[in-house]
């Protein structure tokens, strides 16, 4: 699973079961942010920080992908941890290379200031969200 450092889910693949990806994204971002800060406080910060959480049936890695993204990988517990760690860090590096390449032209987003009604559209959408409850 790939998220932004702010916790927004970008993409996920594999067996997700009933996992709530939105909540998981926010927790992964919080977890990495806290670990990075601990590393800074203790003078041990370096790029491509990785967190390992060992479980009974699966293990989970949380790895930095440059300054903006986070890679979360869950593996079965019969996979060698050292090997998985190497692969995940390599994947993180490759993802960062992709991020650093010039993107293809994106379609333009009509959020220009001339779109005066845009804030009103958001307000209406929120009104709808609120009034549709219960």
């Amino acid at each position: 699973m790939l998220t932004a450092v702010t916790g927004q889910v970008i993409t996920a693949t594999g067996d997700r079961g009933k996992v709530n990806l939105v909540a998981l994204g926010s927790l992964i971002a919080g977890d990495l942010a806290a670990s990075q800060e601990i590393a800074r406080f203790t003078g041990e910060y370096h790029d491509y920080q990785t967190i390992l959480r060992e479980g009974e049936n699966t293990h989970a890695f949380i790895s930095e992908v440059g300054q903006h993204l986070i890679l979360f990988v869950q593996i079965p517990n019969d996979m060698p941890l050292g090997w998985a760690r190497l692969l995940i860090q390599e994947a993180a590096r490759k993802l960062e290379e992709v991020l650093n390449t010039q993107p293809e032209a994106l379609e333009s987003l009509d959020f220009s200031p001339e779109q005066e009604k845009l804030p009103d559209l958001f307000s209406s959408a929120l009104d709808e969200l609120w009034s549709n409850s219960g």
């Binding site: 406080f41 958001f122 959408a125």
Partner: protein, 195 residues
């Protein structure tokens, strides 16, 4: 702001910041209770055993499609207790806007001021100057006997003219108005960034 072109999502992060026990989590609880359950996530709360926020609360709202994208609001709170300063800073990272939830009690004016100043320091540390960042001041707990008015509080706090609202979050008063106001400011900011 983050746009996921594959999923056609516009993601915006809004942080509820403020001193301890000012009502940040209550705001999210009220929003969670009052919006369409199909269009919101579960409320994620990392709490201590005393039911105080340890790291953050999180709630995602999904709006209807606008300009071919589905906007999603990611709402976070920070822990208010003084000794969680480092955690507060982390939650602010990458935010698109801030709701500052102030405690309107006259006895807590200094707590509001200290929290506001610390927020400024944290934003500066991320090279996100407070000037220019969408901020809404919510003057909560207006039902307290010693509550001071929102006008008086924003004058004391010198909030640089940011919009302010009176609220009693525990009764849901002012919660939605605050959310709408910060969303509007964030959208206007995004527009000026994209332009």
């Amino acid at each position: 702001m983050n746009i996921n072109w594959q999923l056609r999502e516009l993601n915006l992060k809004i942080v509820y910041y403020g001193p301890a026990l000012s009502g940040k989590t209550t705001n999210l609880e009220q929003i969670h209770a009052n919006v369409d359950p199909q269009r919101r996530s579960d409320l994620v709360s990392l709490k201590t055993s005393e039911d105080r926020t340890l790291f953050f609360d999180f709630l995602q709202l999904e709006l209807g499609m606008i300009c071919t994208l589905t906007p999603k609001l990611h709402l976070y709170t920070v822990p208010g207790q003084t000794f969680y300063e480092a955690s507060r800073r982390l939650v602010l990272r990458g935010t698109d806007g801030v709701v500052f939830v102030a405690d309107s009690s006259a006895a807590r004016v200094n707590d509001n001021l200290l929290s506001w100043e610390k927020m400024k320091e944290h934003l500066d540390s991320f090279r996100m100057p407070m000037v220019g960042l969408p901020i809404v001041l919510q003057c909560n707990k207006q039902d307290l006997p010693d509550a001071i008015t929102a006008t008086a509080l924003q004058t004391i706090m010198q909030t640089n003219g940011c919009p302010f609202f009176e609220s009693v979050a525990i009764e849901g008063k002012g919660v939605f108005e605050t959310l709408k106001a910060i969303t509007r400011l964030v959208v206007e900011d995004v527009q000026s960034e994209v332009a």
